[in-house]
């Protein structure tokens, strides 16, 4: 009798866990990409993001902003971290839910200090800003949080955005 009760309890706990995991997976879109450091890779990254975001109910305007931030982040890695070398790799993790998006971009190239990159202003001539400066400025404007960690072997850029209300 005790054994039967234990089996039933185990079954229901298992079922509950299964429902919780299924619910979690259904509301989160998680994707990991590893692309070559080429401008042609940016389209692949953005297409993946757009599919995930659309399936999570993001609006066109929200997708536009994240797309721009992702585009600028990839361009900065390709042009500056890798100095245009097309044979390196960019690792990208996208974590999209109906409420927020988090992007982590990892490169293995030259690091920089984002605090040393001044925001472009019209009086400082936007076409003569420090390389990558306008891209970084746009990333910060499009996303809610942008953080950068430079490491000895790899650099990680993390961008986060809440859904707009």
């Amino acid at each position: 009798m005790i054994s039967l009760q234990f089996s039933i309890a185990t079954f229901f706990i298992g079922l509950l866990l299964l429902i919780l995991v299924a619910t979690f997976l259904a509301r989160k879109n998680y994707y990991r990409l590893n692309v070559p450091s080429r401008h042609s890779s940016i389209r692949t990254v953005i297409d993946h993001f757009a599919r995930l975001a659309e399936s999570s109910g993001w609006t066109k305007g929200e997708i536009y902003k994240c797309r721009l931030a992702l585009d600028e982040a990839c361009v900065n890695i390709i042009n500056h971290a890798y100095a245009g070398n097309p044979d390196q790799r960019i690792e990208i993790v996208m974590d999209i839910s109906p409420h927020a998006a988090r992007f982590t971009l990892i490169d293995f190239g030259h690091a920089y200090d984002p605090d040393d990159v001044p925001a472009p202003t019209l009086d400082k001539q936007i076409d003569h800003v420090q390389p990558g400066g306008l891209g970084l400025y746009l990333m910060r404007k499009m996303m809610d949080e942008v953080s950068y960690t430079a490491g000895p072997n790899r650099n990680a850029l993390v961008m986060f955005k809440h859904r707009e209300k």
Partner: protein, 94 residues
């Protein structure tokens, strides 16, 4: 050089160029496109010309406002209005 940069660059090499850039079909712009536009604007202005913009998609306009383009470029709702305004400017400068 990207096609937009190349086209704008070739069009602004003549003295006093007046350019109307119709952005009706542009649904997306990144820092590269922004730099191409502002470089053309600066080259034109340096020789008493100008670059004006028209027919801007609302999302692209949002990016222009973010970087302050609405403060430096003359922006018109459509090509007809842009042509009228440029004609008036050119007549006034004669």
């Amino acid at each position: 050089m990207a096609p937009l940069e190349e086209t704008l660059s070739s069009l602004t090499t003549t003295p006093s160029p007046w350019l109307i850039v119709d952005l009706r079909l542009v649904t997306y712009i990144s820092s590269r496109g922004l730099k191409a536009l502002v470089s053309a604007w600066r080259r034109a202005r340096d020789t008493s010309g100008d670059v004006v913009l028209c027919s801007i998609n609302p999302q692209v306009m949002g990016i222009f406002e973010t970087v302050g383009f609405n403060q430096i470029f003359d922006i018109y709702p459509d090509q007809e209005n842009a042509v009228k305004a440029v004609s008036l400017h050119q007549q006034a400068n004669k």
